[in-house]
Every structure is written in structure tokens, then in C-alpha cells.
């Protein structure tokens, strides 16, 4: 019987059916559900690693140890794991190793929209791209075979639209979990220059063999139709092409690196007009052009964002755009949840008018209106290093009016080494670690400092306070971010200090611990003078009634965290008695 599955669940299913017994990841939208689904299989070892580099290194060890292994991350996670990635391409594998890169065209939940098919070319890895959940399952299983047959890690490249779309999947039987024999083989696994030179030869031989394989693999197929137009496409773009242009000829690539030169040349010869439809970078188009084949691509289609069937119909079939009703609708940007402990931090930082080096998580929303209390945010863990650089460029005076803000999961991911840099090179940063006891943005995954594993079993809990002291921070304090006075006093004191300090703002994410802090609230209209101070904290639990010119609590959304109460200068927000 067929079942609906999001692409990510189908990838996990495919790995399971292929007998994978180890799965590692750091959570990141849109990749998160791959390994959280692997964790549901009892006979699979699954883990949340502290970051993607560690996830891949654990994966490499498991593969050398003989297990079929799945490693998953979002596109920018591959950057973090790029160091081992490029060299595991040399060592090759023992047990099959499949690395999933979940790209995010359109940046639904990311800081850039890099196209990771490029990694396949640079690192010399086969790259497989499915176009729906059934293929995600089947191609993942096949990827393990390819990995072992060609002695190479395989990159499975998906996009948000595949990861988070549900389509029907016919499940297969779970395969056996086979542990291959481990034999010491230093020339293959020890990448010293002398050995690595030998492996590079193997890599190039392998790419030649893979290019031959690409010509006949079931991953690539031609669907003949009207030969006046031939489309080469892959991934979800294939579905858009089929929807928009049901009659044309299509060469659908499931293996996008290396490309099948003969197959493409012969397809090109048999169609009048050849067009590549690929989201983001012209990865396929440029290679075809380099072979001297006449092809169109990015002169018709944008380098930006996601494609759609209607876009393809307009560019290639002359369809008219749908009419616009021109309703002028105010935008609805995402917001911190009611009761979110981050709100108080950014409210305070804004009041204090300090420069804020930010980081990645729900709290990046502190950059948006109405809090607008963030100056820069680049990648996971960057806040602390950026604050150090700012200080070295602009001096200690400037640093006395600047903080770095980073979440607990992000700190563990890659905030520790820059903190060591700050201590070692005598910075004076004030670092706020917003410890909400979870990886919130991606859907509340555990991490080393929650003391719970992916399988929900208790484990040794990383003590962030002790860790920070151990790297040489002498000024460490823990405050409750919902107590605004204490929080502000702590930040002031630490900013004045000409030494590095860490303030741990500790309070669980409002979605994992919704216990109200105060009782049910209301706004006393007698006392409210309509100043809107409470509105400027950006909480959907409180709104402004324009007719009455008074604030009011929305009892359906307010979770009684008490923050607006502290912000009101007229004590107008009160507890409902009785």
C-alpha cells in the first residue's frame, strides 16, 4: 500500500531499506526530519552531533568501520563539513556512505541559497537528485550501492520543495543490517601526502568510471514527446516541466554529477531546440555549453529562488501570467512566540542602544521590527568572532557598547572556539548565551547541553557555565531573561568590565515549557495612557485597540509571561483577580 511521506522521511526509509545502521546530523531546515526519522528505527544508531563537521566525521568512522551510514545536513551545513568532505572523497568508503545536502532555493529558512551541486564537481563526488518522495526513497537505497561499488561517498542533493512535500511512496522490505569486515588499510585511510597522492589517482579513475555509469544508469531517462522542444532537467524542476509542458521531450537527470555526455549529445541531436531547466546555478547548462552544444538556460530562467510550473509555461509556452487582484495586504513577517524568553533580551539591548553581533536561531528575529536589535548575522557561531573583530578594529571603547548574542545549540555548534580566541587574544567582549534548553528554530531538537539524546534517553549534560569558565572566562553569570531589571543590570556591569564576560540568559523556550509565569492578565483601561510601550515588544498576546486608544490582552494568545507588565510605566497591565 502506498503512503504519503515528506521527502525527508522517504530518504530515511530508503536508507533503512538499504540496511543503513548509522545516521548522524546536526538539525537544520530543510534537512532535520531525515535523521529524526532514522532515530525511530530501533536497529539504527542515530545521533544529533554538535555540528555538521562532527556529524560527517562520525559518519566517516562508521563507514570505515563497515556500516552503511547516512549523514544529513542543510546546504550551509556542508560548508561546515567541507573539510572532511573533500578528503573523504579521496579515502572512499568501506560501508556505503551517503551524505544528504538539503538546499533551500528561495531561502525559506536560510541565510543564503548556494547550490550544492557545485560541491559534487569540486569534491569529485557523484551527486544524485530525486524529484519526489518515491524517488527519494529509491535513489537513497541505490546511492548506497553506488557508494560501495565505486568506493566513493555519494551526495544526495534535495531541496526544500522535495524535503517538505508529501507524495506517495510504496515501501519496500527493510534490508539486513550488514557490517562489512574492517581491515587496516593505511594507504587508503591515512591521508598523508604520500598516500593521498595515490588516492587522487583513484579519484580520477573513479570519475571516469562514474561517467560511463552515467550513460546507462536507471537514474537518467528520456521521455520522448514532441521533438521541437527538448528539456534537460532534474529534481523538483522536472515536476514543474511535466506540469507546464506535458507534450515536450524531456531528459530527466537523476545523476547530476558526473553528467552523461553521450546521452546528452544524442538527446540534443534529436530535438530542434534544447533548454536546460534547473533552479539556481547553471551547473548542467555550463557543462553542456563547454561541450560545444547549443543550449539555452539562464537567458530564460532566473538564478534566484524557486521555479514554478507557471514560470515555465510563461517562458516556454507563451502563457500569460495570472491576473493580479492588486489587494494591498500588509506583510506578515515571522515573530518571536508569545512568552519567548528572547524577547526581553532584544528589548533590553535596543533600550541600551548597544551594537549587537547576532547569530542563527529563532533569536535572529530580534533583528526585525519592532525590536530591531541586531547589527550583523552571518553564519552559525559567527557572533563571537565578529564581536572580537569589531573590537580589534574599533577599540575597547566601542566594545564597551557591544555584545555578541548566541543561542545554546549554536554556541555548542561553533561558538566555543571563537570564545577561546577572545580569551587568548585578550578581547573584552560581553557574550550573551541565550540558553533556552533546545534547538528551537528547527523544531526543538535536543543537543549536548540538554542532557537528552535523539532517542530521548538521558545522557551526560554539557554544563555551559563550567565550559565557559574552563576556557578562561572569569566573569560568568546566569540571569533570567524574563526579569528585565536584573538582565539590564547584568549587561551594564559586564559591559563596563574591561575583561571578557559571559551572561547566560537561562529560560526554556516557551513552546517546550509553557508554564505561565504570572496569572491571567488584563489591561486596566483607566491606567493605560495609550503610549504603546507594550506594543513595541512585538508580542501577539497584546494589541492596540485603535478606537479606544488603549492596549488590550488577547486571551487566546497571551501565555502570561509577564514581560509587558514590566514594560508598562503606568502599571496598567494587571493580574485578573480570583
Amino acid at each position: 500500500m502506498k503512503r504519503l511521506m515528506i521527502g525527508n522521511e522517504a530518504i530515511a526509509r530508503g536508507a533503512y531499506e538499504a540496511g543503513a545502521s548509522v545516521a548522524t546530523a546536526y538539525p537544520g531546515t530543510p534537512s532535520t526530519e531525515i535523521v529524526s526519522n532514522m532515530a525511530r528505527y530501533q536497529d539504527v544508531y542515530a545521533e544529533w552531533a554538535p555540528n555538521e563537521k562532527v556529524a560527517l566525521e562520525v559518519g566517516i568512522g562508521a563507514s570505515i568501520g563497515g556500516a552503511r551510514t547516512l549523514v544529513a545536513m542543510k546546504h550551509v551545513g556542508i560548508n561546515v563539513a567541507a573539510d572532511p568532505l573533500y578528503t573523504v572523497a579521496y579515502t572512499g568508503v568501506n560501508g556505503g556512505l551517503v551524505i544528504v545536502s538539503a538546499d533551500d532555493p528561495g531561502m525559506h529558512s536560510s541565510q543564503n541559497e548556494q547550490d550544492n551541486r557545485g560541491y559534487g564537481q569540486f569534491a569529485k563526488l557523484p551527486v544524485i537528485e530525486p524529484s519526489d518522495s518515491q524517488e527519494a526513497k529509491d535513489f537513497t537505497s541505490l546511492a548506497f550501492d553506488i557508494s560501495e561499488e565505486f568506493d566513493t561517498p555519494v551526495m544526495l542533493r534535495v531541496t526544500t520543495r522535495l524535503s517538505h512535500s508529501q507524495t506517495l511512496v510504496e515501501e519496500g522490505e527493510p534490508g539486513e543490517r550488514v557490517l562489512k569486515e574492517y581491515k587496516k588499510d593505511a594507504p587508503k585511510y591515512v591521508m598523508l601526502p604520500g598516500y593521498a597522492r595515490g588516492r587522487h589517482v583513484e579519484v580520477e579513475k573513479r570519475m571516469v568510471k562514474l561517467a560511463e555509469y552515467a550513460e546507462n544508469t536507471p537514474l537518467n531517462r528520456i521521455e520522448w514527446g514532441d521533438r521541437r522542444l527538448g528539456i534537460i532537467t532534474s529534481g523538483v524542476a522536472y515536476q514543474y516541466v511535466r506540469e507546464a509542458l506535458p507534450d515536450v521531450s524531456v531528459l530527466k537527470l537523476g545523476l547530476v554529477n558526473p553528467l552523461p555526455k553521450d546521452l546528452i549529445t544524442s538527446f540534443a541531436d534529436q530535438v530542434e531546440r534544447l533548454v536546460v531547466v534547473e533552479e539556481l546555478e547553471p551547473v548542467i547548462e555550463q557543462q553542456i555549453k563547454a561541450w560545444g552544444i547549443d543550449v539555452e538556460g539562464k537567458e530564460l530562467f532566473t538564478l534566484l529562488g524557486e521555479y514554478s510550473p507557471e514560470m515555465i509555461a510563461q517562458r516556454l509556452a507563451g502563457a500569460e501570467p495570472a491576473t493580479s487582484s492588486q489587494l494591498d495586504i500588509p506583510p506578515r513577517p515571522p515573530l518571536l512566540c508569545p512568552g519567548c524568553p528572547h524577547r526581553g533580551v532584544f528589548y533590553t539591548l535596543r533600550r541600551m542602544r548597544v551594537t549587537v553581533m547576532g547569530d542563527i536561531g529563532c533569536y535572529t528575529l530580534g533583528a526585525l521590527s519592532p525590536l530591531e536589535a541586531m547589527d550583523a548575522c552571518v553564519c552559525m557561531g559567527a557572533s563571537i568572532g565578529m564581536a572580537m573583530g569589531m573590537e580589534k578594529a574599533r577599540g575597547e571603547e566601542f566594545a564597551a557598547k557591544m555584545v555578541a548574542v548566541i543561542g545554546d545549540s549554536t554556541f555548542v555548534h561553533s561558538g566555543i572556539t571563537p570564545l577561546i580566541d577572545t580569551v587568548y587574544n585578550q578581547g573584552t567582549s560581553t557574550v550573551l548565551i541565550l540558553d533556552n534548553d533546545t534547538t528551537a528554530m528547527t523544531g526543538h531538537q535536543d543537543h549536548p547541553a540538554t542532557g537528552v539524546t535523539i532517542k530521548k534517553s538521558p545522557t551526560k549534560k554539557l554544563d555551559i557555565e563550567a565550559l565557559v569558565r574552563a576556557v578562561g572566562i572569569d566573569n560568568v553569570r546566569v540571569v533570567d531573561p524574563l526579569k528585565l531589571d536584573e538582565l539590564e543590570a547584568a549587561i551594564r556591569e559586564e559591559l563596563e568590565r574591561r575583561e571578557p564576560s559571559v551572561i547566560i540568559a537561562k529560560r526554556a523556550c516557551a513552546l517546550i515549557d509553557p508554564t505561565p509565569i504570572t496569572s491571567t492578565l488584563f489591561v486596566d483601561e483607566e491606567l493605560c495612557n495609550g503610549c504603546k510601550a507594550c506594543i513595541r515588544i512585538g508580542c501577539t498576546g497584546i494589541f492596540f485597540n485603535d478606537d479606544e486608544k488603549k492596549a488590550a490582552i488577547n486571551p487566546n494568545t497571551c501565555v502570561s509571561c509577564g514581560m509587558c507588565v514590566q514594560v508598562c510605566k503606568f502599571d496598567a497591565i494587571k493580574v485578573v483577580e480570583g
Partner: protein
Amino acid sequence: MSQIMNVLITGVGGQGTLLASRIIAQVAVDLGYDVKVTEVHGMAQRGGSVVSEVRYGEKVYSPTIPKGQADVLLAFEKLEAARWLDYLKPDGIVIINDERVDPLPVMSGKVKYPEDIIDRISQLKPKTTVADATQTAIECGNVKAANVVLVGILSKVIGLPPEKVEEAIRKLVPPKALEVNLAAFRRGVDWSVHQ
């Protein structure tokens, strides 16, 4: 393409649009259709504008609904009906929950919530129905069941067999919330719908 039923479900992150789209999709699967659903995860779920797209029929290719081809737009919030209106066919059906959730620019007083939004939508799309699903859900015992009230209305409009929808609800809703949700669903089905 005309053989495919395209249902667009829109709302505000946290309103339960995901459950609604999953119920509809499950029913379509049980009826033997090819089905695709696409949904929003990640940042927009924090109170942003969210959309789920459900498509079913003989054979479905794109997981997204082409602009101008949705048969039905089910909106959990009034502004979110207007925001996605252009995805609807000219004679498409709009079902709107009479719920107002102020987006940030309104909360902070930069712009006013367009009070007349339902009238403007009805002028553009005559087949517009407004339902107070929030109130109905409260009457059924839990405000959170508003999404299932709307599923009830929707399923009547697109002609899904109620017993199949109840079956899907049983599969997808946790046992302790089941009674409230089934009651909410039946109230939705009973709602008189403008055809």
C-alpha cells in the same frame, strides 16, 4: 490539468494548517488518488504567513499549485485569504475563517487592518463563504479544533465523503483530542455553504 483538485490552505504560523492539509490529503489517498502536498516548515511557522497546498487527481506532477489554478482557498485568517487570492481560479471558492490576527505592521500601528477585506474579497470572488470556526470550536470544547471545523466545511464543498474524513481524523488526531475534533468536524459539515 483540469482533472486535478487544487486546495490551498493558508493561515498564520501556529494555527494548525498542517493538520488540515494532512487530513484532506489522507482522504484523497484513501479514495485512491495520486496526491501531493507541500507545506511550510521553519521560520514562517513562528507566526508568519503560511500556506499548505494539497493536489489530488489521476496523476499529479508539481507539488505546488500554479498561480490562478486553485479550486478552493481555505483561509484560517482574513488577511491570509486576501494574500493568496491570486492563486485562485476566477470562479474558485473561498472559505474564510472570521478570525483576525494582526500582523506586526498593524500591531505597531504603522498600517490599519483592512476592515473591509471580506467585502473586497467577495466582490472579486463571488463564491466566498465566511465562517466563525473559532467560536464553533470553542462551543465544541477546544479553540484549537477550529482547523477541523474548517476541514468540515471544506470537505462538504469539495465533496469528500464524511465517513472517509472521519476515518482520516481518527488516524491523524491523538486519541484524547478525538471527540472534540469529531464534533468540530460535524459542525463544519453542517454549515450551510454558499454554492
